[in-house]
Every structure is written in structure tokens, then in C-alpha cells.
Amino acid sequence: MRRGLLALAMLFSLAWAQDRTQVLVYGGDWTDLITLDPQVVYEFTGVMIADNLYETLVRFEGNDLATLRPGLAESWKVERGTTDWILTFKLRKGSRFSTGREVTAKDVVFSFERALALKGPGSFLFTEISQLKPGATKALDPYTVEVRIPKTASPQSFLSILTFTIGGGVDSEEAQKNAKGGDFGKDFLTNNSAGSGPYRLVRWDRGNQVILEANPYARVKPKVPRVVLRYIQEPAVLRTALESGEIDIAEGLTPEGLRAIAANPRFKVVRAETLRLQYLGMNVKPGSPFANPKVREAVRFAVNQDELIQGLLQGNATKIQTFIPKGLLGYNPATPYKYDPARAKKLLAEAGYPQGLEFELLTSTGICGGGVPCPDVAAKLQADMAKAGLKAKIRAIANAEVLATYRAQNHQMVLAGWSPDFPDPDGNATPWADYAARSLAWRNGYNDEVAAKLARQAALEADPEKRKALYKVLTEKVLREGPYVVLYQPAQPIGLSAKVEGFLKNPMMSVPLWQVSKQP
């Protein structure tokens, strides 16, 4: 029996005789992946991968989302025209697609027009936020691109949006060669790549793996030439695979799994910062108890943020009370509200509820920011608020149903999450403060003309210092008067083999895999 097992082991170990430092294996739940077309992709995994296949005109480096750096463009300038902002980009020479062709202004124009024509889920970044119109992007010469956007749009937001895959440069000839029925090669680029990024897509077996290989013509050469993204959904299996060396990076481990990994010298844990906020939304439409500002104030004093973060979240989150996440311009570190049930009770009595207030707290049955089940977060809040006379009845339902109820403004209080669509404070300010945007402010019935005006003014302000000052006023105002209680900004811990160096996941979920190296 023993000998049989040994023979079996030897038989299968043949396949292990490869140079494992030349392949990086990244395990996680990639099931949200539905396309790798840079102009269409809008899912976490898809954006993360496409970011390694395509280059954008400008980009962010590491965790710094405030400084734009050169990408395909070596320089750029923003000018004020009579009716438009005029942005001019100088392309660097010698960037090449995986097809071997050089990247020229024609390809950039094609890619921008392609994004507008395909109308993918992220296209509103171009059409609405940037108000970019078809024909507004021009090639002045093979290495110069000019883009015009209306004065009512924010050039800062537009530049931030250009770091995102939607502005990724696609080989226009390759895409057109594979176009079917005027789809700009959308079907083709779902499963294939035609970019100038450090990697090219070799294979995507849905539900199983995605394989990337170094783009032989890329300007930036990856340290590990081959990357395999392995679909592993089950956290216990993910941990087993990491511990046995079958994968190098594990995303989605449980807090217990992470603790075990961190204690083992063969592994390490990297903390990925996010721009996500977990918050409570209170419906303030007339007739609701939360329409009374004193009740909202009471709720703010009835939330024990410190215990929530240190206990339930095991410290995997940043304490924050204002609505622009840490990492973006305009982040306001103020945390004036401390857990004070007695004060909350008094405020509640002043508001006309001396016997306490009963209400429904809506929550998803799914996972909240920081990898903790939402019903657990709700239960902790319920217990803390109960001491202040705020009696929450928890209703936990499927996430899609929570969203539908929230969108229909049929909630009283909801536990929800938010991530900005692009790395700019306006990605939060408009949805959170402008009722007319029909987003979070609207869902919670928060119609404050002053807040909305501040958000619009700050979005268009070109001077960073003045912009910061405007956001300070706005975040302060919404913190005191708004319909939200911001709970925390989660971080995402990722387990890796100690042999892996240079791994980073930035708050926009971008992972520059080409910077990762592997020791033998």
C-alpha cells in the first residue's frame, strides 16, 4: 500500500519539474469576470486584468491617487478655450502593441470613439461625467492627441478617469480587422487582447483560469513572464492551495485563515487599501422619524465605531466619519462623534421619543466591506444602538433586493456600501450631496441645495487648494446634517508566499502584476 502511494506520488510529481519562479499564480474568486475588453469592462476582476494588458494616457503609481504620471502620453496640458477645456497629450514614441504595431494618435482616437460607441456600463464616465462627445478627440499628428470637453465638465475628473481602462489604447487595426457587424471588435476583445501593456492575454477558460504572458513588444518588461489567475471560490481551499504552494497569492481568505498565514514565516499578508465606505443611510423624506435632525444626531452618537473596527473587523478598516475616503483629495479626518448612548438618549427624548424609537434596519445577507457578513455588522450596530433607545429591527435580504428597496426609497435605515466610480472626490461628492444626481442623496431623500451647489462648484474648481477647501466645508456640512453615518473604510488583506516581492493592490483595485517578482 505504502509503495503504491509512493509510486503514485512520483508519477504525478513529474509535472512539477518546471521553473516555478517564471510563473506567478494568483488565486481568488474571479467569477465577476465577464469581459476583458478595456472599453466595456467594469467589473473588479476584469478591470484588474485589463489594466495589465492595456496602457492609458496617464496613470497613477502605487497608492498615490493624487499625482498623475505619464503613461502612453509623456506629457499633457490643459487649456481653457472659449467654450471648452482643451486637453493636449504628447504620445511617447516607440510604445508597441502586442501585435508589434506602434501606438499612434490614431489608435487613441479610435479607442475613445470606441468607448462612446459601445456604451458599456462604464461609458457614463466619458458621456456624463466628462461630457465627451463623438468627434471631440482628434489626432493632430501621429504623436499628438487633442481632446475637447465642455466647460461644465471637470478636467480634473476627466484626467482621473483617463487612468481607468476605459481610456486604454487598443490597436485600431487589429480591432477593426476582427470587427463583426459594426461591433468595433467587441466580441473579439472579450476574449483576446490587443494592447500595449506589459502582458497579453493568452487564454481564458471561464470559471477555471486566465493566463497572461509577457507582451514581447512592450516598453515595460514584466519581472515574471507568465501569470495564471486561478478561480478559487472556497476560502478553506484557497488557504490549502496557498499553504501547499499551488498558488502564490491568495485573495479572499477568512480572518482566521489570515491570522494563521501571518503567523507562518513562509507567508506574509499585504493590506490593500480601498476607497470603499460602509455606511448607514437614513431615509429623511417627510413623515420619516429620521427627517428630524435630532434623531439623526442621536444615531451618530449611538454607533460604537471603535468596537466595530477592532472587534468584528479585526482592525482591517480605517475609522472615518466623513464621506470622502482616505487616499483622495479632500479627505477630511474629522471624527467628532464618540459612542455616547446617554447623550443619544437625551437627543432622542428632545426629538419627541422619550420611550425610544423603533425602526427597520435593512441589510444584505451578503458580505460587507472588510469581509464580514453584513448581518453581523447589523447585529453589532443593533446592540449598540439599543443602549440609546434606538430599537432596530434587522431585515436581512438578498443584496439585489436591498438595492431595489433602497432605490425605491422604501427603506427606513439601510446598511450599505459605496465605492467611487473614478478616483476623484467628485466620485463621492455628487452622489452623496447632489439630490439631482438621483444617487445616494436622492435615495435617502436628502435635498439640500447648498450641499448640491458646493459639490458642483468643487467639481469644476481647477485649483487643488481651493478645491480642498470647498470639500472641507461640504464634508463638514454633510457630516453634521446629512442622512448618513459613515462607519468605516475597509482594507483588504491578501495572503502571499514570502517569496513574492513587489505585490500591490491600490485603492482603485489596480494590481500592477508586472512589478511582482518571485524568489526561488
Binding site: 518546471q18 477558460d205 444617487s439
Partner: protein, 335 residues
């Protein structure tokens, strides 16, 4: 015989309509909006409206169903709400993995189950019988996820005897996809290393998935064999001085096969309809995982596609079992 098969195939059409109609009805009972489910928390109202129009979700339910049937007649299963791809293409990609795993699990079930059942029946109430019954009880009642994680931890993580989750070592270059069955593709590419590795990756999930079926089969075979072994003709066979092998294989097993065959048909059907837990734990990209993801995002065209496929598989397996009856028992005739 030919007319019988034709008639049965015709019935399959009605099964298909029935399945889709019931699935459509269920879609109506669930109070969640598929557009909201597909677009997530940041979606704007206009995007949701646009999505509803694009997929025809704004039309009355009966109109939606009529349109679906109309497309189905042209063999078009529609587009998935979640992946945006034709459902048929998704099925083509996910079904081969399930097929490979199901065939392997079926093999495990038949080899283990039949052998153990026969052995137990021949040694009734003695040690082998007790062992088989105990194992059958254990394997039949151990939850799949527990068995899977236990075996993975023991055989993969601790002993390193068998590979971990997935279909192939990620450090290997996978063979070009032809059939979608990794073992077969590796053979076609004459890549022996990949073939061995794919086979090794198949062992654990096949055992885990097949073990419960094996347990059921062992008990069924044992019971059927015991009944046959007490028949007069078996006693006559023994009396003629035939060897145990001849008695068992020629006289007893063939007659015990009918009830076992019925079970085999439904077991294979069950294995082919996708094993959610086994597929999830072993990161096996099959139908079971596809359909759970589709169901949780209320992707009804996809769910309907899978249900239809599974319905067809069951119908054909039943037909096959019925035809095999006639082969095993000459008294059965179809006209």
C-alpha cells in the same frame, strides 16, 4: 423499435416546453429586479431602464415567454443577463468540465459500488458484508463538502500525494482546448505530462462526487443480488457444480442488473446536472457553479438554458435505460 424511439424523442419536446414554462413562472414569483441585480449599487436609473429594454424585461411576462419559445425554435437560448454572451456559448464552455467529472465519478461509483455490492451479498452477514455496509453508511451520510475538505487537507496539503483544486497544475502549459475535457485534450495533444496531471487532478473530485453514488449502488446491488441468489435457478447452477465466478457473473448478476440499471440512469443524470458543492470546493468550472452564479444574479436565460440541458440529458438517459432493459431482458419488447 424505431417508431418507439421517435415517439419518445417527440415527448422530449413537451418536457422542454414544460421546463421553460415552470422556470418562467418561478422568475415571476421572485420579487427582485434582475436589472438591479445585474448592474449593482452604483447603477443609475437610465442604465437600469436601458438594460430592461435591451433584454426585453419591460414587456409583459407572456410576451416575454412567447418570444423565448420563438427563439428556442431556432435553437437560440438567448443571451445571459450576467455575462452578456449567448447562453449556448456559456453552456458549451461549462458543460465539458461537468461531463468529464461526471464520467469519472460514474466510473468510481460503478466500479466501487458494484464490486462491493456483489462481494457483500456473497458473504452475507460475515465480515466483508459488515464492512461494506458500514462503509456505505459512512460514505452515504458524510456531507460532500466535509469529505472534500477532509481529503484535500489530508491527501494534498499534509501528505502531498494528490494535487489540489482545479483541473491542471497552474505551472503547466495547458493543452489547446478541443473537447473541453482536459484529460482528452492532453491526449489529443500527445502531452503525457499534462495527461497525468489532469488525471491526478480528477481523482479526488471524482471520488468525492462518486462516493455517495457508490454507497447507494453498493446497497442496491447487495439487495438485488441477495434476492437473485436465493432463486431456484441459482441453486441449480450451484448444484451443477459451476464455479462461483460462473454462477455470479453468468446467472446472478445479469438478473440482478435490472433494478441496478434504473438506479444507474438516474445517478448519471444527477452527476451530469452539475455538482455544486464538489465543483465549488475543487474549483471545477462546471455547470453546477455556472448555474448557482446565474441563479444568484437572477440570470433567468442562463438558468433556463441549464435546466433545459439537464432536462434533455435526463430524458435521453431514461430512454437509454429503457432500451437497455430490452437488451437485458428478452421478455421486454417495445413497439
Amino acid at each position: 423499435m424505431g417508431a418507439y424511439i421517435l415517439r419518445r424523442l417527440f415527448m422530449v419536446l413537451f418536457v422542454g416546453v414544460g421546463i421553460t414554462f415552470i422556470t418562467f413562472l418561478i422568475a415571476q414569483v421572485i420579487p427582485i429586479d434582475p436589472a438591479a441585480a445585474a448592474l449593482g449599487e452604483n447603477a443609475r436609473e437610465e442604465q437600469i431602464q436601458e438594460f430592461r429594454q435591451r433584454y426585453g424585461l419591460d414587456k409583459p411576462i407572456l410576451v416575454q415567454y412567447a418570444l423565448y419559445l420563438q427563439r428556442l425554435l431556432q435553437l437560440d437560448l438567448g443571451r445571459s443577463l450576467r455575462t452578456g454572451r449567448p447562453v449556448a456559448e456559456d453552456l458549451k464552455e461549462f458543460f465539458p468540465a461537468t461531463l468529464e467529472l461526471a464520467l469519472a465519478a460514474f466510473l468510481v461509483a460503478v466500479l466501487l459500488g458494484l464490486a462491493a455490492g456483489v462481494w457483500a451479498a456473497l458473504r452475507q452477514n460475515r465480515l466483508p458484508d459488515l464492512l461494506v455496509r458500514l462503509m456505505a453508511l459512512l460514505l452515504g451520510s458524510t456531507p460532500v463538502f466535509f469529505l472534500a475538505i477532509l481529503l484535500l487537507d489530508l491527501l494534498h496539503r499534509r501528505l502531498g500525494l494528490l494535487p489540489g483544486p482545479g483541473r491542471l497544475d497552474p505551472f503547466l502549459i495547458p493543452p489547446p482546448p478541443v473537447t473541453g475535457l482536459t484529460t482528452l485534450d492532453a491526449l489529443l495533444a500527445r502531452d503525457w505530462g499534462a495527461f497525468q496531471d489532469a488525471l491526478a487532478h480528477l481523482l479526488l473530485p471524482a471520488f468525492v462526487l462518486g462516493s455517495a453514488s457508490a454507497a447507494l449502488l453498493a446497497r442496491m446491488t447487495r439487495a438485488a443480488m441477495l434476492e437473485v441468489l436465493s432463486q431456484d435457478y441459482v441453486r441449480t447452477a450451484w448444484a451443477k457444480g459451476l464455479s462461483e465466478r460462473q454462477v455470479v457473473l453468468r446467472h446472478a448478476l445479469k438478473n440482478a442488473a435490472l433494478p441496478v440499471l434504473t438506479l444507474l440512469g438516474s445517478l448519471m443524470g444527477g452527476l451530469l446536472s452539475g455538482a455544486v458543492l464538489t465543483e465549488t470546493i475543487f474549483s471545477w468550472p462546471g455547470l453546477g457553479r455556472y448555474v448557482t452564479q446565474s441563479a444568484t444574479s437572477l440570470d433567468f436565460p442562463a438558468v433556463m438554458g441549464v435546466t433545459l440541458l439537464v432536462g434533455l440529458v435526463y430524458s435521453f438517459l431514461n430512454l437509454l435505460v429503457d432500451l437497455l432493459y430490452a437488451l437485458l431482458d428478452p421478455r421486454i419488447r417495445y413497439a
